[in-house]
Symmetry: C2
Subunit: 194 residues, 2 copies
C-alpha cells in the first residue's frame, strides 16, 4: 500500500468525520496515515475560495449534512455550537505535539474537543485548559508556542499544500493525486492499492 | 415510498451522474423520480455562490472527481470539452418537452448529448440540430420557444427552488428535506422510506 497523506484542520467538521474513518482504515489495513496539519483559512485565501461555513445557505446545509454522515458512520458527533472556530493556535499546537511525539493522541483529543464535546476553543481560557490537560510539558510547550518558528512552519505547510493544487480540507494525497472530502477516502484507498 | 423531486440542470456534470443513478433506482424500486428543471446559474446568483466550474482550482479538480464517480458507477461519461455550457435554451426546451409529454426521453437525450457525446451546445447550429432530432413537432416547439411564458416559467421554477433553501444542483428534495450532490441519493432514499 502506498502511504496516504491526510491534510486537515481541526476546525473543519468534515476533517473530523474523515479522522473517524481513517481510524477504522488504520485498524483494518494495519497501515498508518500521515497526518498533515494545515490552516484551512489560509488555503481558502490562497485559492480565492469562500469557506462554505461563511456562506449562510451552505453553512445551514452542512450542519445537516455532517449529521447524516456521522449517523451513517455511527460515530459520536455534534456540530460545534461556537462555529466557526479559529484554529490557528490549535494547529500550531498540533505542530509542537508533532515535534514532541505526542501528536497522534493530541490531534485525536483536539478533534473530539471540538466536534464531540463542542468546546469553545475561541475562548482563551477553554483553550489553555485544554493545553494544560493534553501537553506533557506545559513549560516547554509555552516556549515553543511563542516562537516564530512554529508560526512559520504552519504557514509553510499550508503553502506547500496549496502548491499541490489542494484548495480545501479534508484532502487525501497519495501517489501524486489528491482527493477532497471525507467521502473520497475510498478513491484514495483505490489509488494507494495501485 | 415518498416521492423524490430531483432538481437538475443539464449543464451540470454531477446532475448527469445523478441521472444515471436515478435510472437504476427507478428500475430497482419501480418508482418514478420527479424531474425538476432549473437554471443552476440562476440559483448560484440568488445564493451568492460562485460555481465550482468558475473557480480554476475547483474546476480542474471536478473534472477528475466526476471521472472517478463515473468509473465507480460504471456509466458512460466524458467531460464536455466546451464546458461551461450555457444551458438556458436547453432548460427552456426541457420545459416545452414537459408540456408536450416527451420530457423523459428529451432530458435523457440532452444529458447524453452533453456528458457522453460532448456536443458543443453553446454552438447554435449544434443546438438546432439536436432540437430537430429530438422534438416531435419542430414548428410548435419554435412558437413556444420564442414565447415569454416559457422564459418566465424557468425563472419561476428556479426561484421556487431557491425558496426551499436549495443553492445548487443536483439536489434531491423529499419529505420537506433536501440533499445536495449525486452522492447523497442514498440519504434521499432513506428519507423517502420514512
Amino acid at each position: 500500500m502506498k502511504k496516504i497523506d491526510f491534510y486537515f484542520d481541526v476546525g473543519s467538521p468534515y476533517s473530523y468525520l474523515a479522522h473517524t474513518q481513517i481510524k477504522k482504515y488504520e485498524k483494518e489495513y494495519s497501515e498508518k496515515v500521515n497526518y498533515m496539519p494545515v490552516l484551512v483559512g489560509g488555503l481558502h485565501k490562497l485559492s480565492g475560495i469562500t469557506a462554505p461555513g461563511l456562506i449562510p445557505l451552505k453553512a445551514k446545509y452542512l450542519i445537516k449534512d455532517c449529521k447524516l454522515w456521522a449517523d451513517k458512520y455511527k460515530v459520536k458527533y455534534q456540530f460545534n455550537r461556537y462555529f466557526p472556530i479559529r484554529t490557528v493556535n490549535l494547529m500550531r499546537a498540533c505542530l509542537i505535539a508533532k515535534q514532541e511525539n505526542y501528536f497522534e493522541k493530541f490531534v485525536d483529543k483536539a478533534f473530539y474537543a471540538v466536534w464531540v464535546d463542542s468546546l469553545n476553543m475561541n475562548d482563551e481560557q477553554v483553550f489553555l485548559k485544554f493545553l494544560k490537560n493534553e501537553t506533557p510539558d506545559p513549560e516547554l510547550f509555552s516556549i515553543k508556542f511563542n516562537d516564530d518558528i512554529i508560526k512559520k512552519e504552519l504557514i509553510k505547510r499550508t503553502n506547500d499544500c496549496f502548491e499541490k493544487g489542494i484548495f480545501g480540507v479534508p484532502t487525501f494525497f497519495v501517489n501524486g493525486k489528491f482527493f477532497w472530502g471525507q467521502d473520497r477516502l475510498e478513491f484514495a484507498l483505490n489509488e494507494a492499492k495501485k
